[in-house]
C-alpha cells in the first residue's frame, strides 16, 4: 500500500492583506467565500418570500373566496376583510414565480455555489475579478428589494405572470398595473446586469485560474456545470434585458414593439422571452446536476460513472437548450410547421438528460453507499427529476400539448424540475458544503427529518397536480370552481394545499435547523465527508486566500475506493505512487 503524498506547488500564495476592516470583511467584501455566503442569506430570504406567496395562492385555490386567516391585516387593495381579490391573486402568482426563479433558485445555484466553489474546487485564491464579484451581489440586493417594494405601490405588484406576456404586461389600461409592472422590469434588468457580471467572472476564473495540473477533464462536474451555466447566462440574459427594456418603452414612452394595434407583434415578446427562458431552465438545473454528481460519487464511494459522457451531456444540453424555446409556444399562434422542428429538438434534449440519470444509477451500482443527509437529497433529486423529465415528454409531443398546455400538468412538471430537481439539489448542497462554509456541521438527525418531511410533502403537493392538469385545470385561475370540468376536483385542490402547508412548515423547520447549526453546530473538520475534491483539502472554513500553498492536481476529481489505497478516497492533490517521508494528511485542517 502506497503512502500518500499531498504536494503543493511550493510557490507561496499571494500576499493578501490580513487586517481587513469589518465593513470590507463582511459587508463590501471581495472574498468569494463571503460573497457566496451573502448570496446564501439573500436567496434563502427570497425563498421564504416565495414560499409565503405560494401558501397564499394555495389557500385561495383550496378555499376560494374564503377569508384568509389573519388576512384582514392585508390592505383593502389586496384582500378586503381577508378575502383575496383576483388582481392580488395574479400578483401573487407572478411574484411567486419571479422570486423563486430569479431571486431564490438562480442565486442559490449560481450566486452561492459558483462563487463559493469555483475558486476552491479549481485551486484558485479568489475570483478573477473580485470587485466585479462584489458588485454582482450588491446589484442583486436592491433589485430584490425593488421587486418586493412593488407590492406596496398603487395598482399593486406586476400581475401578468412571471412570463409577463405582452400586451397584458405592456398596457396598464388592460392590466390595472402600471408602476408595479415597471418596477418588475427594472428590477429584473438590474438583476440581469448582476448575473452577467457574475457570469463573466466565473468564465474567466475557470479558464484562467485553475491550479497546476487541473486540466479540463480533471474539473469536478460541479465546475463543469457552473462553467457551462455561466456561458448560458452570458448568452441568454442580455436577450431578456433587451426584451425587458423594449417592454418598458412600450409601457412608458409609447413604442409599439409588442402592441399589435400599432403594428407591433405580441409573439415577438414570447420569442425573446423564451429564447432567454429555456436556457434559463437549464441555468436552473445544470448546476443542480453538477452538485448531485459530486454528492452521489461521494455517497457511493465510487468514481462518477461515465465522467466524460456526463461532461458531454452538459454541453449537449446547453447547446440544444438554445434551439428548443419554441416548445413553449406550440399553442401561441406560431406557424404549426415551425412547431414540428421545435418538437424534434425538444425530444432530442431528453437524451442527454437520460444519459445523466443512467450515469447516476451507474455510480450507485456496486457502490458502498453512505446515507448522509446530502446523499439523501441527491438521491431524492434523481428520483424526482426523473418524474419531471418524463412529464416533459407529454408537452414535447405537440398534439398532447394542445390539451396539456397551460394546465396544472405544466405546473406539476415545472415544480418537479425546479423543486424536486433544483431545490432538492440545493438542499443537498447546503448540507454538503455547510461544514466548509461555516466550520460547523448540521445535525444529521435533524437533516434526515427535514429530508423525509420534504420528500413526503413535496409529493403530496405536486404529484396530484398531474391529475388536476389531466382533468383540465388551467394555470393561474383564481377560482377553479367557476368551471364545471374542474369543480369536481376540489378535494384534490385541498389535498395539494395541505401538502403545501406541510412543505412550508418543513421549510421553517429547516431554517431553524440551519440557523441553530450556524451558531451551535458541532465543529467541522476540514474534510468531514472524506471527499476528494480540492475544497476539502484546506481548513473549514478556509482562510482568506484559500490555501497556505497553491495545490497541484494529479488526477480526476472522484478517485474513491482506489484499489491501491487503503482508505477509500484519494484527494485530487494527492499521489498514491510516490513514497515520501513528509507525507501528511491534509484532512486535519492544520
Amino acid at each position: 500500500m502506497a503512502t500518500i503524498v499531498a504536494e503543493g506547488t511550493g510557490t507561496p500564495v499571494l500576499e493578501l492583506e490580513h487586517e481587513i476592516p469589518f465593513i470590507r470583511k463582511y459587508v463590501f467584501s471581495t472574498d468569494h467565500k463571503t460573497i457566496g455566503i451573502q448570496f446564501l442569506f439573500m436567496s434563502l430570504f427570497f425563498l421564504l418570500v416565495g414560499a409565503v406567496l405560494s401558501v397564499l395562492i394555495r389557500y385561495q385555490l383550496a378555499w376560494p373566496g374564503k377569508a384568509i386567516p389573519l388576512g384582514s391585516a392585508l390592505p383593502e387593495t389586496m384582500a378586503p376583510d381577508g378575502i383575496m381579490l383576483p388582481e392580488f391573486y395574479n400578483s401573487l402568482v407572478t411574484m411567486h414565480g419571479t422570486f423563486m426563479v430569479f431571486f431564490a433558485i438562480m442565486p442559490l445555484l449560481v450566486g452561492v455555489y459558483a462563487n463559493y466553489l469555483i475558486p476552491l474546487q479549481i485551486g484558485a485564491q479568489d475570483m478573477a475579478f473580485p470587485r466585479l464579484n462584489m458588485a454582482s451581489f450588491w446589484i442583486s440586493v436592491p433589485a430584490g428589494l425593488l421587486m418586493l417594494a412593488s407590492f406596496a405601490v398603487e395598482g399593486g405588484a406586476a400581475g401578468a405572470g412571471w412570463t409577463s406576456y405582452a400586451p397584458l404586461s405592456a398596457r396598464p389600461d388592460l392590466s390595472g398595473v402600471s408602476l408595479g409592472q415597471q418596477m418588475w422590469i427594472i428590477s429584473l434588468v438590474v438583476l440581469g446586469l448582476g448575473s452577467i457580471l457574475g457570469a463573466v467572472n466565473y468564465i474567466t476564473t475557470v479558464i484562467n485560474m485553475r491550479a497546476p495540473g487541473m486540466t479540463w477533464f480533471r474539473l469536478p462536474l460541479s465546475i463543469w456545470a457552473l462553467f457551462i451555466t455561466a456561458i448560458l447566462v452570458l448568452l441568454a440574459m442580455p436577450v431578456l434585458s433587451a426584451a425587458m427594456i423594449m417592454l418598458l418603452f412600450d409601457q412608458t414612452i409609447g413604442t409599439n414593439f409588442f402592441l399589435a394595434s400599432e403594428g407591433g407583434q405580441p409573439l415577438l415578446w414570447q420569442h425573446l422571452f423564451w429564447f432567454f427562458g429555456h436556457p434559463e431552465v437549464y441555468i436552473l438545473i445544470l448546476p443542480a446536476m453538477g452538485f448531485v454528481s459530486e454528492i452521489i460519487a461521494n455517497g457511493s464511494r465510487k468514481p462518477i460513472f461515465g465522467y466524460h459522457s456526463m461532461v458531454f451531456a452538459i454541453i449537449a444540453i446547453a447547446l440544444l437548450g438554445f434551439i428548443v424555446w419554441g416548445h413553449h409556444m406550440f399553442q401561441s399562434g406560431m406557424n404549426p410547421t415551425l412547431a414540428m422542428s421545435f418538437m424534434i429538438s425538444t425530444m432530442v434534449i431528453a437524451v442527454p438528460s437520460a444519459i445523466k440519470v443512467f450515469n447516476w444509477m451507474g455510480t450507485l451500482w456496486e457502490g458502498s453507499i453512505r446515507f448522509h443527509v446530502p446523499m439523501l437529497f441527491a438521491v431524492g433529486f434523481v428520483m424526482m427529476f426523473v418524474i419531471g423529465g418524463l412529464s416533459g415528454i407529454f408537452m414535447a409531443a405537440t398534439p398532447v400539448d394542445i390539451y396539456i398546455h397551460d394546465t396544472y400538468f405544466i405546473v406539476a412538471h415545472i415544480h418537479y424540475v425546479l423543486f424536486g430537481g433544483s431545490l432538492f439539489a440545493i438542499f443537498g448542497a447546503i448540507y454538503y458544503w455547510f461544514p466548509k462554509m461555516f466550520g460547523r456541521m448540521i445535525n444529521a438527525t435533524a437533516g434526515k427529518i427535514h429530508f423525509a418531511l420534504t420528500f413526503v410533502f413535496f409529493n403530496v403537493t405536486f404529484f396530484p397536480m398531474h391529475g388536476l392538469g389531466m382533468g383540465g385545470m388551467m394555470r393561474r385561475i383564481y377560482d377553479p370552481q367557476q368551471y364545471e370540468h374542474i369543480a369536481g376536483m376540489q378535494d384534490t385542490n385541498v389535498l395539494v394545499t395541505l401538502g403545501a402547508l406541510g412543505l412550508f412548515a418543513t421549510g421553517l423547520f429547516f431554517l431553524v435547523v440551519f440557523f441553530y447549526s450556524l451558531f451551535w453546530g458541532k465543529k467541522a473538520q476540514a474534510n468531514p465527508w472524506n471527499a476528494t475534491t480540492l475544497e476539502w483539502q484546506t481548513p473549514s472554513p478556509p482562510m482568506h486566500g484559500n490555501w497556505s500553498e497553491i495545490p497541484v492536481v494529479y488526477h480526476g476529481p472522484y478517485e474513491y475506493s482506489h484499489p491501491e489505497m487503503e482508505r477509500d478516497w484519494l484527494a485530487q492533490n494527492e499521489r498514491p505512487d510516490v513514497v515520501s517521508p513528509v507525507a501528511h494528511s491534509t484532512a486535519d485542517g492544520s
Partner: protein, 294 residues
C-alpha cells in the same frame, strides 16, 4: 415629438407617485352637508337660504329614439333572475313623456369656488349586472362608494383621462370600495369587462350644482347663488348642449334643453382629453353614433 412622449411617460409616473402619496387634500371642511346627487342643493353653505335660487328644467327629446334591445344575461342566471318584470334592456337612450333621461346637467361656468366637499359618499351600485345609477355625478374630493350587490365578479374599470383611472375587481356580493377623484372631469366612462353591456358615466365637478335628468327628462338645481350661469347637458349618445341662464335672488328659472334623434349622427361626446400615449389608450366608444371622441 419623442420628447413629448417622454414627458408624457414621466408625467404619468409623477402623477402616479403623487396619488400614491395621498394627493387628495380636500374634505377639510366639516360642514354638515347632505350632499348626494339627488339633493345637491343643501350642500353649499355659502349660499344664503333666503336668496337661494333654483333652476328647474326639462330635457326634451324629439324624434324616434334608437330601439333599446334586450341584453342576453343567460350566462349569469344570478343577474337574469332579478328581472321579473320583463327582460333587461340596454340603457343607451331612455325616453319618457317627451323627455330624455340620464342626461347629466351641471353648471359649467359662472360659479366661484369655495364649496365644501360633502362628507356623504356617492354610491355606485352593481345590481342585476347593471350599474345603478347609469349616470351619476360626484364632487371632486368626495368619496365614491362602489358596491357589488351581485354574487359574482364585477370589475370597475374607469377610463378617466384627467384623473388617474383605476381597474379593480369585486368578486363577491357585499364588497365595497371607495375612491376619490381629485379633479373635475366630465365624463368618466365606467365599465365592467366581465359583462360587456355594463356601462356607467361619472361626472366629476368642483361644486354641488349638478344633477341627472329623471325618466321624464326633468331636473332641478336648487340652492344656487343668484347669478348668470352656463349650463351644460351631456348625453352619452347625443353629445352636449350648453345654455346660458340668469336667475335672481329667491327666483326659480325654467330652462329646456332640446335634444333630437338626428343629433346622434354627428354628436361630439366629450369624455375628457385622452392621454395619447398609445392611440388605443383613448376611450374607444362602442356606440356607432359617436363619430369622434378624440
Amino acid at each position: 415629438m419623442i420628447l413629448k412622449r417622454w414627458m408624457n411617460g414621466l408625467v404619468m409616473v409623477l402623477i402616479g407617485s403623487a396619488l400614491a402619496c395621498g394627493g387628495g387634500d380636500g374634505g377639510g371642511e366639516p360642514a354638515a352637508e347632505t350632499g348626494g346627487e339627488a339633493e345637491p342643493a343643501a350642500a353649499a353653505p355659502v349660499v344664503d337660504p333666503a336668496t337661494a335660487a333654483t333652476i328647474q328644467g326639462m330635457v326634451a327629446f324629439e324624434g324616434t329614439p334608437q330601439a333599446t334591445t334586450e341584453i342576453d344575461m343567460s350566462d349569469e342566471p344570478a343577474c337574469a333572475e332579478t328581472y321579473t318584470e320583463g327582460p333587461p334592456m340596454t340603457e343607451g337612450v331612455v325616453t319618457g313623456n317627451g323627455g330624455l333621461a340620464n342626461v347629466f346637467v351641471y353648471v359649467k361656468e359662472g360659479l366661484d369656488g369655495g364649496f365644501g366637499t360633502p362628507s356623504e359618499p356617492v354610491v355606485l351600485d352593481q345590481r342585476g349586472c347593471r350599474y345603478r345609477p347609469h349616470v351619476l355625478g360626484v364632487q371632486s374630493g368626495q368619496t365614491l362608494l362602489i358596491r357589488n350587490s351581485d354574487p359574482l365578479l364585477h370589475n370597475i374599470n374607469t377610463q378617466s383621462t384627467v384623473n388617474r383611472g383605476f381597474n379593480i375587481s369585486q368578486p363577491q356580493a357585499g364588497m365595497e370600495s371607495t375612491r376619490e377623484f381629485s379633479r373635475a372631469e366630465v365624463m368618466i366612462p365606467v365599465k365592467c369587462d366581465v359583462h360587456g353591456w355594463m356601462q356607467a358615466y361619472l361626472g366629476v365637478v368642483d361644486h354641488p350644482y349638478y344633477t341627472v335628468s329623471d325618466g321624464g327628462g326633468s331636473f332641478t338645481l336648487a340652492s344656487l347663488p343668484p347669478g348668470t350661469y352656463t349650463l351644460e347637458a351631456w348625453h352619452e349618445v347625443f353629445g352636449t348642449i350648453t345654455q346660458e341662464v340668469s336667475v335672481g335672488a329667491a327666483e326659480t328659472a325654467e330652462i329646456t334643453f332640446a335634444f333630437s334623434a338626428d343629433m346622434a349622427k354627428d354628436a361630439h361626446v366629450p369624455l375628457g382629453e385622452p392621454l395619447v400615449l398609445h392611440a388605443h389608450m383613448g376611450f374607444d366608444h362602442q356606440g356607432a353614433s359617436v363619430s369622434d371622441s378624440r
